[in-house]
Symmetry: C2
């Protein structure tokens, strides 16, 4: 499309699109034009499938993680899992009601970062950003590890490949996301409803058996690893509670993605949120109840879900395998959700200049490629470090989610407070506030405020009970990340200042004082450099760093023949260094620069035609350019000499 | 020192020597001037210490490796170790006599590479080079692993740190060698004579006890791991023989280092060789004999040397510890020898242009730093892969040594044949041959020829009996290396051709067609680029790759204000690529180049003042330079813009 803003502008259209390499096309697909960005709205049923996988999938491990902690007080303590789960479901209800309000207040998407930034300011927003980014990474590590644990429950013979399987899955999800998801939400619907079908079948059958008294206990359960080392203390119960709160991770997903819903967006999104929470709460309670009834044992070797499934579904049958497959699939989908959330949030932070600008660039397939790759790399590293063991990862997980819950709800509470002030504070109204008065503001402030307090309490419980197990790492990581964000921000701000034309007079013109031509010998490449130098200056000095007299004499003699009268400076280098003497000479020469003077260093550079040839050469030109980059008043010219050999 | 070869030359002296970083000074030491190269000659006694460590140290594992193989036929088969050792000592005698002749024929150093190159041609020389380089690497891996095995025999509690200890030792030896060895050979003499003292004490005491009937058997020997899986077959005996031939590794060291000896060099070196072989043969036979008498068991947990030492020296006493320490030390010295040999040989091959030129450069401490680091890295990798287990490494080891023995002796035999022809073939004499007639040529040819045949037979036995255990790897590696050497050589030869001035007429002058100035925005950096461009051409075109219309309009408007009348081309990039459209535009522009025309691309480059800032920027200038390096008729100018922020 030819556009004309001014006479000065000429529009050029590239001949064709850059054809990607075969490898790239195979894995990533052909490039997509910017105009192809999707604009598709989804209904409640597909919306549930798209956004619920993260939240629902946590039922696959939350019960087990409660039991792992209780096991310290012996199997008799497993009964406590039921009241603990009830407390968690109550918390779920509070968070759901809070977020339902957010969805209506932020119809364009109200993630914790945006809500904090709008209502609390920059620092809370960056804290929320740090908390969420860490948690998205852990979502990938935990969900994929839990998915692998399901596979290994069904096929224990593969247990040597736990880490390999998990990392391969992460790489697979990364590639899928680098391709970009042009597919409709329908594709997402399949695994979610498959899982819901299988889990409700299992839980329903289990409940029916329980009511008819036909529910047996687990045949041949795994051995309990750590037992009876502690009594039932308040600390232990709170500890188990914190582990169980991982069931709530993912509840915030819908509030991030409201724009994807059909109009009326907020209503549809809100209803979907409530439906999701009802399903989640029911499932979580039922699984915990049934796990207790069948006497499931938390174990690294076989998941509680697998024990439950084979007890209810009649051993390792094909229905059991379908159940395990659906659980694995929903966990992979949960990891996939983080691959949408992490790059989107990091792009948002990068466009606010708190993360490297690269994060804002969309790749050839219209996705934030940098964010996707970064997430996959860090998540894989964590999986390797923790050997893909869910129980080892859980102490790091969820603290970020609850911190962001707290910030988001506090932001909302403050927002309602401001809205309440709209009625009395005219100044606020005059500022052209985007806020709309709401006469229920008091009630809504209380709801969000109560949500904030509850989630804050969970953060404290979590940090206290899991501190020594790994939560300390997150408590160091989040402030560190915030510091890094601020340092990046300061750099960009200073740079914008330094580059600004605001206070610039039309600058003085530059005077080219002459050319310095470093040579490593006299050959065709050198002569091409000399010829180019002669097009930009008459004042040329060649320099040769001499390490032994023999080659020295040869170079001088050949320069006399071919150097076209330009003087040659020979620098002795008794320590066999070549770069330092050269940089030293150039620095001394620039000392004579006046304001606006520039010295041009012309570097003849040999360009080999195969990549491995680079290892056979010293890359002197590259090193010299690198060494000279901080020397003011110097411009480096590469004169390439292409050789076919 | 100011030198004047011609009026054209000006000599510049650097202000000071480049001061190395603190880290570098601490580990490597201050730079040494070229004039500091050592010129010190050593006598026979020090010569023995310097060159014998590699050969003598192999007595620390050769016996054990014979027993490991024989163990497959049960402990009763251990008796065969004595005739096998005798055969190996006979082989040692043959190799020694062969090499004694080489030493007299090549007073300037006659390693297998040089001898093969002189007498057999390029291909055999490169095969010898490949064989020797692989074996030097394995010398480091095997000797250090064997040294660690001694330490672990004395301190079994440290067995978890086997690999860590071995790799740390390699790194330590690397650092020592990067410092360079200015110290006299005297330093080397201490560990060698310490070892000789301790081992002769042990062996002598053992023999005395045996003769007086007071030699007991090993108390509490380690368990035998694999036993009785095979009968005593010819294959088994040959297999054990091949393992034992590792005792001969290092015998060639003196022939490489003749120049280090006092005059008469060849005589002194020859006598040292014979003394070394006598000691080696005696020690090896005695150790094998005594190991059999005390019933030593080959084991990964405790070395045969350790079992022997504690049986003879009265348990784990301090004398025992001294013996173990001296054995560890001599093994480390053997590894150290490879750190002298590998870089020297690779520099030799590099100066013949069969390896990257970097290998010929002496570092700041006058050593071939590249070779030292390469050796340390590969040897460490092998140690990690084989978990520092000597028995696992042995099948790879020694095959290269015997291949190089064979090539070297064949070369010598051929040399004697040519010398014999001197008497009859006048043409040969006229060519100004450096060969001197020797009337004993027939006898000497038979000696070297017999040596060649014997060592060739060992190569075949070795390859056949150890093929499946790992020798296949070496049999693939050596031809692969030779192919790599030839590929490198071809590249350098073609390059020299392409750069040669031989057939060059004084070339046409270059015409600078104009400047292309890619910009990413209009700011101070861009304007500096524009000003520089104006010093070299009046024909300037700015290019901007547009990804969205907003920024597009801003750039055009600001360019109208600041662009000093230069036209601006805006390229639409629907796929959000910036580099491909730019390169495409520049390629199209160069299509109009006539012979000798050049287009200059001026790239304003922002230079941050902290290294980590690089991660916050896209490095567009670097990528563009890289993409343009193959486009003919283009010169790239970096105009750096240094920013403090």
């Amino acid at each position: 499309m030819a556009k004309k803003h001014s006479e000065m502008k000429v529009v050029h259209k590239p001949a064709a699109v850059h054809s990607p390499s075969l490898l790239q096309r195979w894995f990533i697909g052909r490039p997509l034009p910017t105009a192809d960005a999707p604009h598709q709205a989804i209904g409640k049923r597909v919306g549930l499938a798209v956004f619920a996988s993260d939240a629902l999938s946590s039922t696959a491990y939350a019960t087990q993680e409660i039991l792992v902690i209780l096991a310290a007080a012996g199997t008799a303590a497993f009964g406590y899992s039921i009241p603990i789960s009830m407390a968690i479901v109550a918390l779920l209800a509070i968070v759901t009601i809070s977020y339902e309000q957010t969805i209506h207040a932020y119809p364009d998407g109200g993630g914790a970062y945006i809500v904090s930034r709008d209502n609390l300011g920059t620092l809370p927003a960056q804290v929320a950003g740090a908390a969420l980014l860490s948690d998205y990474i852990l979502t990938v590590s935990v969900s994929v590890s839990a998915g692998v644990a399901q596979i290994l429950s069904a096929f224990p013979g593969m247990s040597h490949y736990r880490v390999v399987l998990a990392v391969s899955l992460v790489m697979f999800i990364m590639l899928i996301n680098l391709r970009g998801v042009k597919e409709s939400g329908f594709i997402f619907a399949i695994p979610t409803y498959f899982f819901l079908g299988m889990i409700f079948l299992t839980v329903g059958l289990g409940m029916a058996r329980y009511l008819t008294g036909g529910l047996s206990t687990v045949v041949d359960p795994p051995a309990l690893e750590m037992v009876g080392v502690s009594g039932v203390t308040l600390f232990l119960l709170l500890h188990a509670f914190s582990s169980g709160t991982t069931a709530l991770t993912g509840v915030e997903a819908i509030s991030n993605g409201i724009t994807a819903f059909k109009e009326p967006r907020s209503r549809n999104a809100g209803k979907t949120l409530i439906a999701m929470s009802l399903i989640l709460g029911t499932l979580f309670l039922s699984i915990t109840f049934l796990a207790h009834q069948v006497g499931a044992i938390p174990s690294e070797g076989e998941t509680v879900i697998s024990q439950l499934a084979r007890t209810i579904l009649g051993g390792r049958s094909w229905v059991y395998l379908l159940m395990i497959a659906s659980t694995t699939l929903i966990l992979v989908m949960a990891a996939n959700t983080a691959f949408a959330d992490f790059p989107r949030l990091s792009a948002l932070q990068a466009s606010d200049r708190y993360l490297p600008r690269q994060m804002t660039f969309k790749g050839s397939r219209l996705v934030f490629s940098w964010g996707i790759v970064t997430l996959a790399m860090i998540a894989s590293l964590i999986i390797i470090l923790f050997q893909a063991r869910v129980t080892a990862l859980i102490p790091l997980y969820a603290i970020g989610v609850f911190l962001s819950f707290t910030l988001s709800q506090s932001g909302m509470a403050h927002r309602w407070y401001k809205i309440g002030r709209l009625g009395v504070d005219e100044e606020l109204q005059e500022k052209g506030s985007r806020l709309q008065y709401d006469r229920n503001w008091r009630w809504k402030m209380v709801v969000n405020g109560f949500g904030a307090i509850c989630t804050a309490v969970v953060v404290v419980i979590f940090a206290a009970t899991k501190f020594s197990e790994g939560a300390w790492l997150v408590l160091i990581l989040i402030p560190t990340l915030v510091m890094v964000f601020y340092t990046i921000h300061r750099h960009y701000a200073n740079l914008a200042d330094a580059l600004s034309l605001a206070k610039l007079q039309m600058p003085n013109t530059i005077h080219n004082r002459g050319v310095i031509l470093p040579i490593s010998g006299v050959h065709r490449g050198t002569l091409k450099g000399l010829q180019y130098a002669r097009t930009i200056s008459q004042n040329i000095t060649a320099i040769y760093v001499s390490m032994d007299e023999d080659s020295d004499r040869k170079v001088v003699q050949r320069w006399n023949e071919w150097g076209a009268g330009a003087p040659l400076v020979v620098i002795d280098s008794p320590y066999r260094e070549w770069m330092y003497p050269l940089v030293d000479y150039i620095e001394q020469a620039t000392a004579k620069n006046k304001e606006g003077d520039v010295l041009t260093v012309v570097v003849p550079e040999f360009v080999p035609n195969r990549w491995w040839h680079h290892f056979l050469h010293m890359q002197n030109a590259t090193w010299l350019r690198w060494a000279l980059r901080h020397v003011r008043g110097v411009v480096v010219v590469d004169v390439p000499y292409q050789v076919r050999c």
